[in-house]
Symmetry: C2
Amino acid sequence: MADLTSFFRPNSVAVVGASKTPGKISNAIMRNIISSGYQGAIYPVNPRESEIEGLACYPSVGAIPDSVDMAVMVVPASKVVAAARECGEKGVKTLTVITAGFKEIGKEGLELEKKLTEICEEFNMRMLGPNCVGVMDTHTPINASFTAAAPVKGEIAFLSQSGAILLAILDWSATAGLGYSKVVSLGNKANLSEIDFIEEAANDPYTKVILCYLEDIVDGARFLKVAGEAAKKKPIIVLKSGVSQAGAQAASSHTGALAGSDLAYDTAFEQCGIIRATTMTELFDLAIAFTKSPIPAGDRVAIVTNSGGPGIIATDNVEDMGLKMARFDKSTLDEFRTNLPKEANIYNPVDVLGDARTDRYQYALNKVLDDPNVDSVLVLMCPTAVTEPVETSRSIVEARDAHPDKPVFAAYMGGPLLAEGAGILAENGIPCFTFPEPAILCINGLNKYKRYLDTVDSKQARDQLEVDQKTVKAIFYDVTRERRLNLLSSEASAVAEAYGIPVAPIVLTTTADEAVAAANEMGYPVVLKVASPKILHKSDVGGVKVGINSPEEVQKAYLMIMESVHRYLPKVVVHGIEVQKMMPKGTELIIGMTKDVQFGPLVAFGLGGIHVNLLKDVSFRLASSLNDEKVVGAMLSETKAYTLLKGYRGEAPRDMAAVVDVVKRAARLVTDFPEITEMDINPVFAYENGVSALDIKITIS
Amino acid sequence: MADLTSFFRPNSVAVVGASKTPGKISNAIMRNIISSGYQGAIYPVNPRESEIEGLACYPSVGAIPDSVDMAVMVVPASKVVAAARECGEKGVKTLTVITAGFKEIGKEGLELEKKLTEICEEFNMRMLGPNCVGVMDTHTPINASFTAAAPVKGEIAFLSQSGAILLAILDWSATAGLGYSKVVSLGNKANLSEIDFIEEAANDPYTKVILCYLEDIVDGARFLKVAGEAAKKKPIIVLKSGVSQAGAQAASSHTGALAGSDLAYDTAFEQCGIIRATTMTELFDLAIAFTKSPIPAGDRVAIVTNSGGPGIIATDNVEDMGLKMARFDKSTLDEFRTNLPKEANIYNPVDVLGDARTDRYQYALNKVLDDPNVDSVLVLMCPTAVTEPVETSRSIVEARDAHPDKPVFAAYMGGPLLAEGAGILAENGIPCFTFPEPAILCINGLNKYKRYLDTVDSKQARDQLEVDQKTVKAIFYDVTRERRLNLLSSEASAVAEAYGIPVAPIVLTTTADEAVAAANEMGYPVVLKVASPKILHKSDVGGVKVGINSPEEVQKAYLMIMESVHRYLPKVVVHGIEVQKMMPKGTELIIGMTKDVQFGPLVAFGLGGIHVNLLKDVSFRLASSLNDEKVVGAMLSETKAYTLLKGYRGEAPRDMAAVVDVVKRAARLVTDFPEITEMDINPVFAYENGVSALDIKITIS
C-alpha cells in the first residue's frame, strides 16, 4: 500500500510556480493553502519573486532550506518535467501536479506524461494528477487546490475523475450542507489512481463513506481486490459514467453480443460490494444515508404516515426496489388495535391519520421500532391543521436515539409549514426528504451493502478442481504454430475435456475409412462436419450431414461433403472431416466467455440453442469469482434456464451439480489461459444425470 | 359533458355549516373564500349564528334570498343528506362536500354516500367529494377549501385523489415556485371523478398542463375516451399509485399470469397519450417542462457543456431513455472547427471548455439550435474561474427566444456561484436543474407526448372484419345451459373459426366409429384427446394419444383413452373424445386475453408453447385499440416472437399479415363478447403461408 500521508498531512508544502497575481490559479492555490488554516511550512517557488502572500519565495525547490513533503506544481507543462526532477533530487515525497497539457491533449502530451511518470518512479515519489484541481483534507486542515469554495468538515471522502464535477459539487455542497473529510481531484491518474485513494480512505479514521465519480477504471484486477477489501471496512458509492468497451470489442461471439456495454462494471461493482449510483442525486442521497444511518439487519421496512396516499406511494417504492414491507408481530398489532383510533390502519403502512399530533406519531414509531420484524422505518408527514412538525421531529429523534441499530428516514411532504421540523431532523442526522422515493432508495442502498457484508462473512473454502493444463498448452501451441486463431471443434472439445468438462465424442478424420473407424468406435448415430476454421456457415456449402446410422452412410457422407465443399469453395483447404457422436437432446444451455478490457474474462450462463441471442436469458460473473460455489449458485438462479433445470411444469429435474461443475471448470479454463479471447459452449445438454457439451468454439490470440 | 362552471366561476356560494370559531375547518373555508378575492356573493349558513366573518348568516339554504350556484358542505355527515336535499330544492347547481365519514369508513358510510348521490341525481346537481379538501380557481379567483396555503396563479390544473397530498403539494409549491390555474380535491369521487375534471381542464383557456395524482380509475372505458381526446389538446401527466387487481384476478390463465399487476394502467395511459410519472419529483419536473417548453419535433438531443464529465453523464442519460444524440449537420461542424478552440469537442456533446465565457456559450448554443438535425438542447454549466453565469443565462434566454420551437433545458451544476444565473433562467421559463438527469427525463416526456400527437394525426381507417356472431352466441348459449364455464376444445375452436381465425380441424366424437370417420375426413396423422372440462391434466390420466396414422389406430386409441380415464377418474363424466388433425410445426405463438377490472379486455401476443410463462415474451394492448393495424404492428414489434417471424438467422419469414389478422380477430371476439373472461390460444403455429390455431381455451361467465 502506497504511503499517501504527505498528500493529506504534509509537514511542509512547496508551491512550484506560485504567483502574486490575484485571479491566477497559481495564486489561488497559495491563498487556499494559507486560508485553510494549514499549520505546516509553506514555500512558494518562483525565480522572479522574493515574496508571495507574505511568505518568503524561493528561486527553486532546491533552494528551500528545509525538507519538503509535498510539492504542488503549477508551472507550465513544458517546465513540469524539469521541476519534478528537481523535487526528486530534493527528496520531496509527493507531487500534486495541477498543470494541464498532458495525456488529455494527445500524443505529444502523452510523451510528456510518460517522462513525468518515469521521474516519479526514479525518485520514488507519489504523484496526483497531472491535470487536476488539487487535494484537500479538512481535518489537517489543508486545501491545496484552486477551488473557489472550500469544503466544510465532514465524514465523506470524495474522489473525482472530473475536475469540473468536483468544483460543481463543492459549490453545491455549500447549499446542501454536506461535509467532507478529504477531497481528491484524480486528474489523469498517471501515477496514483482511485484505487490508491480508496485504500487510503478506507483506513482514514475521519472518513465514514467513500464517494467516487469515475469515468474509467484502468487496472480492473487491482481495483477489484483493493475495493473489495476496502468495502468491508467502509461503504463505497460510485457514480460511473461513460460506456465500457466490452460489448463492442467482443461482439463476434454469442456471449460477447449478449454482454451489454456496461455489464462488466455492474458485475465488478457488485462483486466487490460497491453501491452503484445511477444519478448525481442518488450519489449524494446515498452519501447522506451512509454517513448518518446504521446498517439495517435486513430488508423489512415499516412506514408510519399521517395520510394514505403517500403511504401507498412509499409501499409501491418498497416493492419496486425488491425490499419487503414488514409484517408486524402479533403483539404490535394487538397494541395498535387497543391504542390507536379505530379508523387508523394498524397494518404496514401504519396510518396514524390526519389528526395525529406528536403523541400518536411517537407511540406508533416507537412500537414499530420495537418490533423484531422491522429492520428500518420511514416516517411520512403531510401538513394538516393539527400536525406538529417541530415537536414530532423531536420525538422522532428521541425514538431513533432509543433504537440506534435501526435506520430511520423521513419524508416531510410540504414546504414552509414543515420546514422547521425537517430542519430538526436533518440537524440530528435523520435524513429527511420531500418525497418518499429517495428515502426508500437510500434504505435499499444500505440493504445492498448489508448483503455484501453478509456474503463476505460467509465465504466458503475455494474448491480445488483437477485440470490438465499440459494438454491445453499443447493444443494451443499447435494451433498458434499453424497461424490460426480459431480452434477446430475437435480441438476445442479436447481442451474442454482436459478441464473435466463432459463433451460429446468428436474425432478429426482425413479419410473416409478413418471416419468409419471413428464412428464404429463411438457408436451410432453420428454427425459428419467439414473441419475448417475458414468455413463459417458449414451447412450452406453442404458441409454437414446429420443422423448417420451405419458405416456405409459414413462412407457416402464423407465423400459427399468433400465433393460439395470443393465445388462451392474450390480454394479452401480443409483439415478433414470431424465425426461427432449425436447425443440425446437435453435442456439446452449456453456457457460462454467474453473479455472486458478492464476486468478480464466474464463468464455467461443461460438458455442455449440457436435462439440464444434472441432469448437473451443469460447472467454474467467475473470468471475470477466463480471458484465459489455460492457465487455460481447465485449466477445460475438469475436465469430462466435455472427454472427449467429445477424441473419446470412437472418435468424431471436436471443434474444441477453437473451444471455447476461445468461453469466452474469453464471459468477456471479461461482464467488459466488468458490467451483465450472468446469461448462459446452452445449447446450444453443437461440431462437428469450428467451433461454433455456439444458445440465448443474457442478463439485464442 | 358535465357543466362544471359553477365549481370554478360561481356567481354565488353558500357555505353550509359555516362557523365563527377560528381553527375549525368550517371557519377556514369562509376565510379562504373571502381572502381569495372572490367577487361573487357569499352566504354562510348556520341556524345558530346571525353573522360570520362580517357576512350575514342564514338559518338554512332555503332562507337565502338570492339564487345559489355552489354550496360548500361542512355540516356533520349525519346532516349532509338533508342539507343536500334542501340545496336541490333551492336549485343549487353544484355541491362541494368537504365532510368526511362516507365510503371511506365502511358499510354505513357507503349507504350514506349512496343516498347523497341519489339526491344529486334527483335534482340534477353535480357533486365534488364527499371527503375532500375543496376546489380552487386562481383566475376567478376563488379558494373554496380549507388549505392553509393558497395556490399562486399559474397554468397547471392539479387534480388529486388524496387530500393530504394536495395539501402537501400546495405547501411545497410555495417553495418550488409553481403556479396553478385550478386545484381540485377529488375526495371519494361519488358523483364527479377525475374524468369530468380532465375534460373540463382540457377546455379551460387558463390551463396549459393537467396534473393528476390518482389511486384508482373507476370507469376505465370512459377514462380512455375522455382522456384520449383531452390529451390531444393538452398534456396530461399522471402519478398513479397503488396496484391494479388485474394480475390477481385472472391468474388462472397463462395470459393473466403474464400481465403484471400494473400493466393495465401502463397500457391504458400509453394508449390515451397520458405521460406517466413514476415519482412525485418526476410529476412536478414534467409539469414545469410542459408548462414552459414547446413540444420538440423529434428525439434528437444536443448538449452544450463547459466540461467533459457532465457531458458524459448527460449522454448516458440520453441513451438510457431511448432518446438520440443529435448528429450535427456538416455545416455546423465546419463552423465549429473554424470558430471554437482546437481543444473543444465539436461533436455532440459540444464541449466549449472550462475557460468558456458567455460569447462562446452563446455562439455554440445558437449554432446547435440552428442545426436542422437538432430537436432539443441541454446546456450544462460547471462553475470555473471564468464562468459568467449571469451573462451566459441572459444569452441562453435570447437564444431560446430566437428559436421558440426547440425546447432548451439547463443543468447548472453548483450552488451559490451559479444561483443567480439559474434564477434568471427559471424566471424566463427555461427549466434549470442542478444535475442533468431530470432535464433529460423532461425532454423524454415531451417527446413521448409528441409521439402521441403524431399517432393521433395519422390514425388510419378502422378495418371491417367479417365475423359470424350468431354461431358464437349459439355455442355460448349451449355451454351456459349446461352450467359450464369452460368450453371444450372443439367448442372453442368453433368460436375462433366463426371469427375467421384459422384453426386445426377438431371434432367431438362419442363413439370409436365416429372418431374413425372424423379422422378419415380430416386426414392423418391425428391426435385423440378426452373431452372433459373437469380434467385439467389430460396426459396424466392417459387421456391423450398423439401421432395416430390409421383408422385401426384410431379405434384402438379411442378405447384405450376411455378405459384409462375411467380407471383413473371413475366418477368423471366425459363428453366424448376429440379428434384433432396434427398440424406441421410452425413458429409457436400465444395470443391470449385477460381482463382488467377498470379497462376491460387486454390482449397478449408473444412466444407460445409450453414455456410461455417462463419466457415471458409478451406485449399487451387493450383489445379496443387493436382494430388499428398500426397498433397491432407496434404490439407485435415489441416481442422476440416478432424477430422470429421476420425470419431469424436465415430462416424464411412467416406470414406476418396472417398473424396480424388473427390478433385483430381475437381482439374483436373478446370485445364483442364481454362474457369471455379468459382466453388462451397457445400455440398458434405461424407458417410461411398462413397460421393455424391449435389449442384454444375459453372461459365464459
